[in-house]
């Protein structure tokens, strides 16, 4: 039997992991399940699409594919601009909606507000871009053999490398930088963090920018190897939540492991049960984790 399905699972899992690392970060610091996180993935992808189109119209050479990738440097530049732009969107949503509810101390109303925001943001994308799928490139890529009967495209390798760099970067930032330590302090206890002189409002702002940026990267990579659709982030939401909870809320390595496990489990389901049931895998994993070990693999922040 070919191990191709395993490789497909790792690639899908990397995208879930990237989104889940943003979920686990905002969840542990803002302390609510943000249903709009999936919309940041979609908006990030479409921000990059529009920016890449605009850059391409300014400089035609920008859309020449950078061999062996299927896209030119217009998309790479667009990604770098779209990440802070998506962070800005996340932060603006916080200012307009979540911060007001947080001040009122209505924790679960935050979840509901994020659910409403998620519906509105997704519908807005449908208004602007329609529900038709969009692509960064029409180039066809040849999958190259990498051994054991596995073939991957250069875009997929780029996805794996980008995910590894971003997740490792997030982990190192949380572990070793001053801002990262402050973020962890706020996730442990906002009150104590403020007592020791941490600017909590600044940490929250940074959290939204980092979480939004990671979501944007996930959206662009998803658009690169699959396609862009307004519902793509919403469809990724359950796997992202399941991966973050499986890894243990607040743990970036946990989110990475959780994403890969869910991606591989989905690939197994496609192989042995049927592709149409793929989306149910994340739910099955979620229920198992909640029944057996609700604190997740790392089990640091939950409780």
């Amino acid at each position: 039997m070919s191990l191709q399905f395993f490789a497909d699972g790792v690639i899908a899992g990397a995208m879930i992991a990237l989104g889940a690392s943003g979920v686990t970060l905002t969840y542990s610091i803002l302390r609510f399940a943000n249903f709009a996180q999936g919309e940041f993935v979609s908006w990030g992808g479409y921000f990059a699409l529009s920016l890449a189109g605009w850059i391409g119209s300014l400089a035609a050479s920008a859309i020449e594919p950078l061999e062996p990738l299927s896209v030119g440097w217009s998309v790479l530049l667009a990604l770098l601009v779209a990440m802070p732009l998506t962070g800005l969107l996340a932060w603006l949503l916080d200012v307009a909606l979540f911060a007001r509810l947080r001040r009122r101390g209505a924790a679960i109303a935050l979840v509901m507000a994020s659910f409403g925001a998620s519906m509105a943001l997704r519908a807005l994308l449908e208004v602007v871009y329609s529900t038709r799928p969009a692509y960064f490139s029409r180039e066809l890529q040849i999958a190259v053999p990498v051994g054991h009967g596995i073939r991957v495209t250069p875009d997929q390798i780029a996805l794996l490398v980008t995910t590894a760099v971003l997740v490792a970067g997030l982990h190192l930032m949380l572990a070793y930088t001053r801002t990262g330590r402050s973020m962890r302090a706020v996730s442990e206890s906002p009150e104590l963090a403020r007592v020791i002189g941490i600017d909590v409002a600044r940490i929250i702002r940074i959290t939204w920018f980092v979480g939004g940026g990671l979501a944007c990267a996930a959206g662009v990579l998803l658009g690169l190897v699959v396609q862009l659709r307004p519902a793509m982030g919403f469809d990724l939401l359950l796997p992202m939540f399941a991966a973050a909870i499986l890894g243990g809320i607040g743990s970036v390595p946990g989110a990475l492991a959780g994403g890969l496990i869910i991606g591989i489990a989905e690939a197994l389901a496609v192989q042995f049960v049927g592709a149409e049931w793929r989306a149910g895998v994340a739910f099955a994993v979620l229920v198992l984790v909640l029944l057996i070990r609700p604190t997740g693999l790392a089990g640091r922040m939950a409780g």
């Binding site: 007001r100 507000a113 519908a123 939401l237 149409e276 149910g280 409780g303």
Partner: protein
Amino acid sequence: MTDFAGVLSYVSFFMVFALINGIAVLGLNLQWGQTGLFNVGVAAFVAIGAYTSALLTTPAVAGHFGGYELPIVAGWAGAMLVAGGVSALVGFATLRLRSDYLAITTFGVAVTVGLITQNAERLTGGSFGMSFIPRPFADLAQRPLAFALASVALVGIVVALVYLALERLVQSPWGRVLRAIREDERAAASLGKNPARYRLQAFAIGGAVMGLSGAVHAHVIGFIAPENYQSSLTFQVWTMLIVGGAGSNRGALAGAVLVWALWSMTGFATGVAFPADEQARAAALRIVAIGVLLAAVIVLRPRGLFGAASGPAAHAPKAAVPTVSGETEG
């Protein structure tokens, strides 16, 4: 005369669908308004009710599960039983955990039920859905006005029964314990009340009421398909409850009628203002508008139009998830 009859049957059908939504809103009010439980899978429980009742009452089809041709009332009872049972299972798995895990799990239920309605063809008919669901006044179908009036009378009676039952429940000692748990869980527990059990019961009953809403809808229409039960339905039911005022059954019904009126009017307006090939876009625009309405009500008027003075927006389960309160203003 015919104009008047046309308007009357239009208004009747408007009320039929507003009130069927209202049943689901009443169920959500028990879960969220009375108990503070966050259910993001309303559409799934409505769907479970609709499909259960359809399976129990439709004539048998070869290669298909169900088809028992039971009376409609048996279908409705079965719908409540199955939707309530699934709610109890979901509650059992998540209610002992932090409150937003319930939200995530119910979201997962919605995704999974969506998959089943879409793919389990022998059970649900797949994307074709199920038809030949018996309609209570099928023999009146030739006389639209009589059919509309009979339908609105039937749905009105069902809503009245659900409303009275829930009001009684809320006023009963059971309802008082529920409120006590919502206000101060530890104090209630110290009086020997097991909060987890009461929450589970409220969640299961609320789910059963949502199932009834789906079953009634299925029999009024006579045909069901997966696209009836998308996340936009959940969103609609939530908006109805928040606009009407969480915690009040009267508010729940008022919110259902009001938001359904807004929904129908915006549908009429976009139908006139947009050309046929732009209708998908126009439908999305309506959802944006309703989403903004929901967010505005949550922020500006958290108790809704008729909300109880101590609605869940004011209480929120404090013990489970402390909020970020160290944030500085501005």
